[in-house]
């Protein structure tokens, strides 16, 4: 049987002082005679005392800790974002409680509930796809401080985003410049980029062909199916923009399966400059997003005391590699 963890009382007894003194010495608050300090510190060390955050939080009413809600960590983009959040939290001495929503609003709601029960009152979240966000209403009203990252949150909640509009436009401009006229769009659960895609097309006076815009659910299979069906239904697409790295992966897989050569038969651009984009055969042209920064900044905002700006926009960058070529009719 493991010996019960030492409490502040044990330390007080061992040092021959009152509990308040121990608390003061250990938290640096108030003053204590050097000699007492010494004794307390020694006793604490000897007993391997670790103050209970539970006790402290309960007393203080506020419980440190940062919640983090992402679709899933197997996706490199969210992994990087999460690492950014962890880095910031660590630098501020806060712990973080994570949950994987699977882009499912119901799971998100339940996870959110459990965060609240844990006493977490600040969270950074990549909101689940549907975008309706009625999940967040009550939490926000209840005083939970949430900063959305990577995708805009509902209402006026603060969000740290990438400049997707510019990113999508850059991709579309690039493809358009290469002569492509039938550009497909592979979208995911978050549909914001889909609208931006239409806008980008309009900006260069190209009509949006609804059949070329497809949306997949948050699974690998669904992404693949969406990509394959797009290529099959419309053999005339000569270029495709994938809204995230999962979709990009699906696009190259589907193209390969269908014997479409990249970039000869189809040009591909995807969002997210994941490390493998460069290793891909051929190396993929991407719209890079600063995933780590996204997380770091969001965490910073959530953890800082003063509310930050409602919208932080981080730049995207079109990184040209070898997955796009001038249009040649298929």
């Amino acid at each position: 049987m493991p010996p019960r963890r030492a409490t502040i009382k044990d330390v007080a007894a061992a040092a021959g002082v009152g509990v308040a003194t121990v608390s003061r010495v250990l938290s640096g608050t108030g003053s204590a005679s050097p000699e007492t300090r010494e004794r307390v510190l020694a006793a604490a060390a000897r007993l391997d005392y670790r103050p209970s955050a539970l006790g402290r939080s309960l007393k203080l009413g506020r419980s440190g800790g940062l919640g983090l809600l992402v679709p899933g960590l197997a996706n490199t983009f969210y992994g990087q974002l999460a690492d950014g959040v962890l880095a910031c939290a660590r630098s501020m001495g806060e712990h973080v409680v994570v949950g994987a929503t699977g882009d499912d609003p119901e799971r998100e709601a339940s996870l959110l509930g459990s965060l609240v029960e844990q006493g977490v009152e600040r969270v950074v979240a990549v909101p689940s796809g549907d975008g309706l966000g009625e999940n967040w209403e009550p939490a926000l009203r209840a005083g939970l401080r949430v900063v959305f990252a990577g995708r805009p949150g509902p209402g006026s909640a603060p969000s740290v985003l990438t400049d997707d509009r510019a990113g999508v436009q850059a991709a579309v401009d690039y493809l358009g410049g290469l002569g492509h006229r039938s550009i497909g769009f592979l979208g995911g659960p978050a549909t914001a980029r889909e609208r931006l895609f239409r806008d980008a097309l309009a900006a260069i006076r190209m009509p949006a062909d609804e059949e070329l815009i497809v949306a997949a659910r948050a699974t690998r299979d669904s992404a693949y199916a969406a990509a394959a069906s797009l290529f099959q239904r419309r053999p005339d697409v000569t270029a495709v923009l994938a809204a995230d790295n999962t979709l990009g992966e699906a696009a190259v897989l589907a193209a390969r399966e269908l014997d479409l050569r990249i970039p000869r038969d189809v040009s591909v651009i995807m969002f997210d400059d994941v490390p493998w984009a460069e290793l891909c055969g051929p190396p993929l042209t991407v719209v890079a997003q600063p995933a780590h920064d996204l997380g770091y900044r969001a965490a910073e905002l959530a953890l800082r005391d003063r509310p930050g700006p409602d919208r932080t926009l981080l730049p995207t960058e079109l990184i040209v590699r070898n997955s796009c070529a001038p249009r040649t009719p298929r």
Copy 2:
């Protein structure tokens, strides 16, 4: 100012009963008249009451929650492993507190300390590279229940591992069968596979050339440098085994940079069947590890009440793609 969260007292008052009754009704313990039940439930719902896990944990002495310590989440392998842990935790209604160690024992120790302060008493961890593990001694003695995943923990602590011996042997056998005699090994912070590599070589009666065995630190740069220097110092290596996906990535990058064609000039096998292995140019032959399962099983063990087996070994699988070819002298 956000309205303070409702407490059990508020519910009791609103329902016109004592706090004990509320507690009993809400936790399903004890009995209550249907009519009282009704009133309590209604009041709780109306006030949007969420029981405080802090209060409960403090009272109960035990605090749910699972700690998770990994090198970092940007690495797909750990991301998948973490997803496995999250999946299991969620199914058992536990929350998860994560930390990224960066494979640094010091950070690991500090993170571990903060977990203990949070009242977490069960953790799954990918122990940091050094393998000395004096970090864990005290925690283990203090009754912390830790299950190691992916890498063996120090001492006799329970671990959920992949059958690396078989995996390394399969890779070496395969390469040997292809005629390779100078096989390089790219190792990381965790050195266990390095020993297995020597063993595997011995098993097929090949001498281990120390100069062909290199170890990188846990950064992308270090991995790249290690790979590049291996290729440059020893132009006679015709094959290389990379101990994880980061190292594998470095190997193909370095090879490309040095104008070494895969697999014509060098054959490459890496650990971890990350999604991009198939997309790589050329598709990479890998030793697949069930990352998600690793995490799920480890979490299961950590969360179950009875201690499980000390060692769970999950199978690896050699997945042959196109990154290896018969040896041709360079």
